[in-house]
Amino acid sequence: MIVGALLLGGLYLFPIWNITLEAPQYPEPIGMDIFINKFQGMNPNDIKNINIMNHYVGMKDIPEQIPEFEIFPLVTAGMIILGVLTGFIGKKNLYLVWFGLMVTFGTIAMYDFYLWEYDYGHDLKETAAIKFTDSDGEPMAYQPPLIGNKTILNFRALSWPRTGAYLMFLGMALSVLAYFQNKKEASNSSQQAQKAKEDDEEQYSHNVA
């Protein structure tokens, strides 16, 4: 359980998400890694070049700073501390609570990401040089997919989780695994109540695992 919680630390080091744009004129695709505290181009000038391309259709520049970059690191830190504490306490139901919290925050984050993408793809400047419309005659939206691949004009936009997210998923999986392991141990221990003390030690070792 503790290891699971500590895996969240990877979020500080690795990008959580990535959006890549492929197009014939970019033999090396351009793209952006999303960290919990920043946006970073896959190559040094990618964000600048995405902004240059997007300004023609009226899309806003990708901001350097958003409020989420303040909040996410704090929430993550909180969850790590909470997870580690849970591990030490060793109550199996607390593991589930932690997992539940992660799912909740994750969903909120994904929803936030969706809102931002929606805004980014729909809120276009009135003065845009190029205005496309979709088949219904509505202004075309350039929203990248939440997850998956999508073709936008001559670009193929790919939106997928990255190392940070996978580490987080692994951490969450570990917390569930710890819950079931713990439950099994617990049922064993009820049959052998006289060895409760040793069980506690064993349980501790499982927690560490």
């Binding site: 040094p44 600048k48 070049n49 240059i52 023609y56 040089a129």
Partner: protein
């Protein structure tokens, strides 16, 4: 039963694979089983296997081709101005063309050679000589820009240049014309015995590539034609071919063809280094320009140098020896082993191969046949190792493959002849269309040639292409030399007059390409690295415009307060940081070329408005979908008007 069937099937299939495999392997070695077109075909989007650096001759430039496709990728401006690229027109590159004679917009570029490490081509730099006003240029193979040009003093007709030694210790530059040194007013007929032939050794800094004229060997007044470095065992020596050892100054076609034999001069440059280190040299006054383009400032500077160290070979035994070589040798080419020096007497019917081992032995045992101006002449018989008999008419230049074969061009009989080094027997001959000058095998001037293709550079084109009036492109021809027989697989037109070429595998160069110039590292004193830095400054009638460009606008794009009689410097920075997004700029009535500015780069042009009015400027490179909108206006007011300086973009 079933199993046995399967086994038979397998055996058949495997056998078939072998057959197909063996045949396609033959194809690679040049057998006649793939179509000729296939062998020079590079599919759309695919890359060529080799770079070819082909001199532009009287265009003064260096052209870059791919082999085997023969496609032209770029013409690098070197010695001649190039309005297309702003080279020699913008303020940054003007100093590159400075000489002790002032700025010169043209030269005749002849012999490109590639830098080497341990005798192998290393893909760092290309050197090329300017023949008319003697100069050597260095071109970066990361940026494919001319980074440095050094003038060669005491020299005239810088022809036996720009050949590099095994570790690029030196680039050599030998004079074609003998001239008075120092230059002075004297009767031409007193040439003999008085004119000199300077052979220059230019040291190359291994980190930066910076060149320095280290010393000159002041030879008798012969004409020096071509040169090649010793390699492996002969490393430390440089060989120069000579003609006009008669020292004639008139009707050379007759008077310089009298001696049965001219010389190949063998210079021991390691010995020269010792002499220089020991202070055994003369310093003579002279004047020559040294021009360096600095990538971080995007700007060239020109410095005038005042003296040069000179070695007199008559004074220092062991520095120079002459190897007698029949009939005005043109090429003097050293085989990959460094043992043989091949002299191609351009009027001779045969070719002479000197042996380096025999040369050392002759020197040791003083097997000399007198001397010329105090320089020992080695006995012909004691240095010649073999003769390629009656191979053709008018041999010019020899290159080598990696299998011990040599390939020589014959101008008069219009052919390339393949022969065996060591046995001197002719193995194959292929006609050229027409009258071939030089030839090139990638890595052919190194220890390790890549003997797959041979490019023949022809002097005469006639009917090879669709006609274009009296003036025709010179023609190059590509031969597949991977098999026993040379096979012509492609004709392609070239720029100017290719005199010589160098080539190497593309993999040596591709990974080191400059794609953009980083804005953060742009140290141009007049750079505006963001729109916020864009501005106009006036200093008397000198006006400096700090302008930026990015898809798809200039900042500023409305300028006011310029007056007739002003000298307006447009310092324009391309803010793009994206590969292959250059922008250009020019303004109506500008008496100069456009600027073509690469991402992250700053360039400057001067505009001196002569008429009041509102004058437009625009982007000259189709940069983006809104390229046509990338434009602006400058208001020019009268000489004595009070229009204030004002600049804006979108009213801000």
């Amino acid at each position: 039963m079933q199993i046995r069937n399967q086994i038979i099937c397998c055996i058949c299939a495997v056998t078939m694979l072998f057959i197909v495999g063996s045949c396609s392997q033959q194809g690679q070695t040049g057998a006649l089983n793939s179509s000729l077109a296939d062998r020079s075909y590079v599919a759309p989007g695919e890359h060529d296997e080799f770079y070819a650096f082909i001199s532009g001759g009287y265009s003064g430039q260096l052209s870059i081709y791919g082999l085997p496709s023969g496609r032209l990728f770029r013409v690098v401006p070197v010695f001649s101005v190039d309005a297309e690229k702003g080279y020699g027109f913008n303020e940054e590159t003007k100093p590159l063309l400075n000489t002790s004679f002032g700025s010169i917009p043209w030269d005749d570029s002849h012999h490109p050679d590639l830098s080497q490490t341990n005798g192998k081509v290393d893909g760092r730099w290309c050197f090329i000589n300017g023949n008319n006003t003697p100069r050597i240029a260095r071109i970066s193979l990361s940026s494919f820009e001319t980074e440095e040009i050094i003038e060669i003093p005491n020299s005239a007709g810088n022809h036996s240049s720009a050949f590099v030694t095994e570790n690029t210790e030196y680039v050599v530059a030998g004079t074609r014309f003998a001239v008075p040194v120092p230059q002075r007013d004297m009767p031409i007929e007193e040439y003999k015995g008085n004119f000199k032939g300077a052979l220059s050794f230019i040291k190359v800094d291994q980190e930066t590539g910076r060149m320095n004229l280290e010393f000159q060997v002041m030879m008798p007044g012969f004409n020096f034609d071509l040169a090649h470095p010793g390699r492996k065992k002969s490393h430390g020596w440089m060989f120069f071919s000579t003609y006009n050892t008669e020292e004639a100054s008139t009707l050379l076609e007759v008077n310089a063809s009298q001696n049965d034999k001219d010389f190949i001069a063998a210079i021991n440059w390691k010995k020269a280094e010792e002499l220089i280190a020991n202070g055994q040299f003369e310093t003579i006054k002279t004047e020559y320009a040294h021009n360096v383009y600095e990538e971080s400032t995007h700007m060239a500077t020109s410095t005038m140098k005042k003296e040069v160290k000179v070695l007199d070979p008559a004074k220092y035994p062991g520095l120079v020896y002459f190897l007698p070589t029949p009939k005005s040798p043109h090429g003097c080419d050293v085989d990959p082993s460094g043992e043989y020096i091949i002299g191609s007497g351009k009027l001779a019917a045969s070719m002479t191969a000197h042996s380096f081992t025999k040369m050392l032995d002759a020197i040791e045992n003083k097997k000399f046949d007198g001397d010329a101006y105090g320089i020992p002449v080695i006995n012909y018989e004691d240095v010649v190792s073999g003769v390629v008999q009656q191979a053709g008419l008018g041999p010019l230049h020899t290159e080598f493959d990696n299998d011990g074969n040599a390939y020589t061009t014959f101008f008069i009989s219009s052919e390339v002849v393949k022969w065996k080094v060591g046995t001197w027997e002719v193995l194959d001959r292929a006609p050229t269309y027409y009258s071939v000058g030089h030839l090139m095998i990638p890595g052919g001037n190194s220890q390790e040639p890549f003997g797959k293709y041979l490019v023949a550079m022809n002097k005469i084109t006639k009917d090879r292409y669709l006609p274009t009036g009296p003036e025709l492109a010179h023609s190059a021809q590509l031969y597949d030399i991977s098999g026993d027989k040379m096979e012509l697989i492609l004709d392609f037109p070239t720029i100017g007059e290719p005199h010589y070429a160098a080539g190497c595998p593309a993999d040596l160069i591709k990974p080191n390409q400059t794609k953009i110039y980083e804005l953060e590292k742009n140290n141009h004193p007049y750079a505006a690295k963001s729109d916020k830095e864009a501005r106009i400054e006036r200093n008397g009638n000198e006006v400096h415009v700090y302008m930026t460009m990015i898809r798809s606008h200039f900042t500023p794009d409305n300028l006011e307060g310029i007056k007739v009689g002003d000298k307006v410097y447009f310092h324009v920075t391309n803010l793009e940081q994206d590969y292959d997004v250059p922008h250009g700029i020019s303004i109506i009535g500008a008496n100069t070329s456009e600027l073509l500015i690469m991402p992250g780069q700053t360039e400057t042009f001067i505009w001196e408005p002569k008429k009041e009015g509102v004058w437009p400027f625009y982007c000259t490179d189709f940069c983006s979908a809104l390229h046509q909108e990338m434009q602006g206006y400058i208001r020019v007011s009268g000489r004595n008007s009070n229009t204030p300086l004002k600049w804006s973009l979108d009213g801000d």
